[in-house]
């Protein structure tokens, strides 16, 4: 609870900074309060408090996911120092981002379907606005509008599903629903299954899993790069945290019924994402498609529901968020230079040795090459699927992971090629270099000692 207060305090302070004219101090203040929120997250660990009539349940699962998201947001703030400082809309951006993080935290810790819906909506509405925030750029307007129209539709599905589940079980509370389901799991009303299906569709949209992924490439590409970075890290992590929490606590008893549906979604996302990513020449669009593929991998953790799913998902989400933030540091510099094509990276390693090294390691990690964090995330998720009997899904995942190595390495190869005509000078400011350093340490350490994060749950 204190975490939520601290996070929203950043937003309130941001609005006050406009009124009371301390905009100059807003950036350090927001970094500091985010650190406080991280400390509060740590203090919440292993207490398992249920807040306000069991609306929010901060078990270790929620705490660890909140921790990942707070760390990612901190890195996000550090990476966007130049973008935020001096921007006339700094206060707006800071406020919306911190409220979005609050929504994400609610999604990780919800214990009531109403809280789930509110969390999803807070996060989504913030993202619609931020996607459209570059008003002079038509593509940004398009991204915001597209995201808003489709997202509102998906929220409708989610809400309809919640209403149907409520109708069938008579409760919004996760514990009561799961009790009801385990008591009557042989003769659940058909309305319940319809509700589960609708909820799955709504959440699959939010995580951009195929066949609900059509918005993702355009929205990711059109949005201003800092917000694309936020979308592909915090938003995705939060949506998966909510997905697994809901399905593992409430619907696990009827998993034989919905797991084939999600398995097909997962396989489709992996294949579609990987194959489409192969054809991209723009790094931002490539990351959007790889985000679809990664949604497929993470969905596998939900499909193969066993006692290791949550640790596998945590490890994967952490590795993915951290690596993405690092890679988006590069993309945001490319956006500033006005060229997001992969070919513009030629000669990059000559000028920026350290960033090139870090990006290479991150690409290896996200492609799943041992001994980096991404490998263990993938390993845990694939092993879970095999253990649960989804051999075909694991085969598809390995195949798509092999394809993904190809396009991730395409970026690495481009960086180490000699400079061509269209080579662009990219400069990393100290904050971004620090982010890259931290990210490198995290990816290597999590790869060597994955237990650091998996034992927390």
């Amino acid at each position: 609870m204190n975490i939520l207060i601290a996070i929203t305090a950043v937003g309130v302070l941001a609005m006050l900074s406009e009124i009371l004219n301390f905009r100059r101090f807003l950036y350090p203040i927001s970094l500091f309060v985010m650190l406080v929120a991280l400390a509060l997250t740590g203090m919440e660990w292993s207490h398992g408090v249920r807040y306000f009539n069991d609306m929010l349940y901060m078990d270790n699962y929620a705490v660890v996911f909140t921790g990942i998201m707070v760390v990612t947001t901190l890195l996000w703030f550090m990476m966007n120092e130049n973008f935020l400082n001096g921007n006339p809309r700094q206060a707006d951006f800071t406020a919306i981002i911190s409220f979005a993080l609050g929504g994400a935290m609610v999604m990780a810790g919800f214990s009531d379907l109403i809280m789930l819906f509110l969390g999803v909506e807070i996060l989504s509405i913030s993202m619609y606005v931020l996607a459209a925030s570059n008003k002079s750029e038509p593509r940004s307007n398009e991204a915001g509008f597209k995201y808003f129209l489709m997202g509102a539709f998906a929220s409708g599905f989610l809400l309809f599903g919640i209403a149907l589940v409520y109708g069938a079980t008579g409760s919004f509370n996760l514990r009561e629903i799961s009790e009801f389901v385990s008591e009557n799991n042989t003769d659940m009303s058909a309305i319940f299954y319809g509700g589960v299906l609708m909820i799955a569709a709504g959440l699959a949209f939010k995580v951009a899993a195929a066949p609900f992924h059509f918005w993702a490439p355009d929205v990711y590409e059109g949005s201003p790069t800092p917000f694309t970075a936020f979308m592909s890290t915090v938003v995705k992590t939060a949506a998966f945290a909510a997905f697994l929490r809901l399905f593992s606590t409430c619907f696990s008893e009827v998993s034989t019924w919905w797991s084939p549906v999600l398995a097909i979604m997962s396989a489709l996302s992996m294949l579609v994402g990987s194959i489409m990513a192969l054809r991209q020449t723009s790094l931002k669009r490539l990351l959007a498609w790889s985000g679809v593929a990664n949604a497929g991998y993470m969905l596998m953790a939900v499909v193969s529901l066993n006692e290791y799913s949550d640790t596998a998902l945590v490890l994967y989400a952490a590795a993915y968020s951290i690596a993405s933030i690092g890679i988006f540091t590069l993309v945001s510099n490319m956006t500033n230079a006005g060229n997001e094509e992969i070919s513009s990276l030629h000669g990059f390693s000559k000028v920026n040795r350290f960033p090139a090294l870090v990006i290479t390691v991150l690409m290896f990690s996200i492609a799943g090459i041992p001994p980096l964090a991404g490998f263990f995330g993938k390993y845990a998720i694939f092993a879970g699927a095999l253990k649960d009997g989804f051999v075909w899904l694991a085969v598809v995942a390995v195949l798509s992971s092999a394809i993904s190595v190809f396009y991730y390495l395409k970026v690495v190869v481009a960086m180490f090629q000699p400079a061509g005509r269209e080579a662009v000078q990219l400069e990393f400011n100290p904050g971004q270099s620090l982010v890259l350093g931290l990210v490198l340490v995290l990816v290597v350490v999590l790869g060597l000692v994955p237990a650091l994060i998996t034992t927390l749950i």
Binding site: G119, A168, A190
Partner: protein, 168 residues
């Protein structure tokens, strides 16, 4: 009596909802939508949820629909110039919409076993009861929805505000 009322209202709701989609002029769509909202408010009253009905009329039929009408008139959208979608998109829409309809119809058809609570409290939709529930059990969602509206408000002002020498 209330059963007949229910059927009449349902018929009107379904009819107006379909007319929202089928009318060619956007203004007609909006007017049918207002009508649809009123009939839904009628359903709420049948369920003894007066507060919900009042809020529904005020917020949806009142505020939101006036806003819709205003936007349509401002942007002068009242033309039959809707671009035609490609046949593939139309077929896909029909197939997926039909599948959804099939799933939902079959779900509601086999929706037995929903025990109707015999101890139904007829006062449950009244403002007093609602207030007690809202400020006791659902206090946190109530507060968190403030966060939601604050976000939406900041977003709306940010997108609406003129950019003064903006970098962006």
């Amino acid at each position: 009596m209330s059963q007949y009322l229910f059927y009449i209202l349902s018929l009107l709701t379904a009819f107006s909802a379909m007319m929202v989609v089928f009318s060619r002029k956007p203004v007609y769509s909006v007017l049918y939508m207002i009508f649809c909202f009123f009939t839904i408010a009628g359903h709420y009253i049948l369920l003894n949820a007066q507060f919900l009905a009042a809020v529904h009329v005020i917020v949806y039929s009142g505020a939101i629909m006036v806003l819709f009408l205003y936007v349509i008139m401002m942007l002068n959208l009242n033309k039959e110039s809707e671009p035609h979608k490609s046949n593939i998109a139309k077929t896909a829409a029909v197939v997926s919409g039909g599948l959804l309809l099939m799933v939902l119809v079959s779900v509601f058809k086999s929706a037995d076993g929903l025990a109707i609570n015999p101890a139904f409290d007829s006062q449950i939709g009244m403002v007093e009861v609602l207030g007690m529930v809202l400020y006791e059990k659902y206090l946190l969602p109530f507060e968190v929805s403030a966060l939601l509206f604050l976000t939406a408000m900041i977003g709306a002002t940010m997108l609406g505000k003129k950019e003064g020498g903006a970098q962006s």
